[in-house]
Symmetry: C2
């Protein structure tokens, strides 16, 4: 049993988190799974193929997580935000650069396929935020004339938190920025506090 | 005349912007300046030494630019913001990753000295924003109980704009986020529009 392709991707994430991008080799993956190098190469011809699949798996996870906490927009928006802020918190605890930075790092942004996969990931997240904000405007719980720009603003602050966390800094000020500036202006009724504990920097 | 050390740093910035991190070699710098490789090595023993000096030069430039537009806090804050948003706009026009990402890219965040230099750069910028916001609170033009967190929020949005620009995206939504959410809550009187033209994404 077990899907080798999925096992390879999971091993790749573990290696990336534990030891960073340089340690991510087909050899390391093969050793960890106790399979042959050619077994890894059968599924992913190049490291780039692997990285792109990795990003696309993350994307699927995110969308699935979103579906899991489907609810009214005023409840769904905090969940969507918390989902990625927890990611930033994990990054801070592990004291590693976020995978997206590590992957970009691999190529200095010069690998178009990889870059495009990262863009797709980020844009899918912004699209979820935008849809949720639009729903909330329609149902009267949110007030904004620019749902998509608001989504970008929120996503940008979370990206800031991730980058900050990757520099051993606290994501706390960015979470605060969302709570203090964006949500109070967006929510017609009282705005929520995000349910994430982040240590002060 | 001419300080070779400064010329090397300027050539390094040009190469980084034109051709990216991989192209940044002592050979490329020596060729561009028509000096010997050892001339480059005399000033910077390793590529890391060069990169760290580069970041510190940027830092100096930023602080000098800040002094150049010294004024009352309500005028100075937009200038400080515009200064870095213009950087994001340049990044978008050049279609390159921002130098900070390129430099992080070089090491995957694993080079502590380089990472620390980048942190120092970012923190100096946040410190300038914080001082300006504190001044404004004292003189009664700004209203916030958390000048430093507000500064992080603003800096984070600009970082978001830079990262976005490096993915061929427009910094516009982040600029809008600053104008629509943060400045109106911060300014006691009418908040300013930032004087930067950024194309819509």
């Amino acid at each position: 049993m077990g899907d080798t392709r999925v096992e390879i991707l999971e091993a790749a994430v573990d290696i990336l988190i534990e030891s960073g991008y340089d340690a991510l080799t087909t050899e390391a993956i093969a050793d960890r799974l106790e399979i042959s190098h050619s077994g890894v190469h059968y599924h992913f011809e190049t490291k780039d193929d692997l990285l792109i699949a990795l990003i696309e798996e993350y994307l699927t996870d995110q969308l699935e997580a979103k579906v899991a906490f489907d609810g009214p927009p005023e409840k769904q928006l905090p969940k969507l935000l918390e989902f990625r802020i927890r990611g930033a918190k994990t990054i801070q605890q592990l004291e590693i650069p976020p995978p997206s930075i590590q992957l970009l790092a691999a190529t200095g942004g010069s690998d178009d396929a990889l870059r495009q996969a990262l863009d797709t990931l980020f844009e899918a997240y912004v699209a979820e935020l935008t849809a949720t904000i639009r729903d909330g405007v329609e149902s009267g719980v949110f007030d904004t004339e620019a749902p998509e720009r608001t989504a970008w603003t929120l996503a940008g602050l979370i990206e800031g938190a991730e980058v900050r966390a990757s520099h051993d800094g606290s994501p706390a000020p960015f979470v605060w920025g969302i709570e203090a500036y964006v949500l109070p202006a967006l929510y017609v009724d009282e705005s929520p506090t995000l349910n994430v504990e982040v240590d002060d920097g």
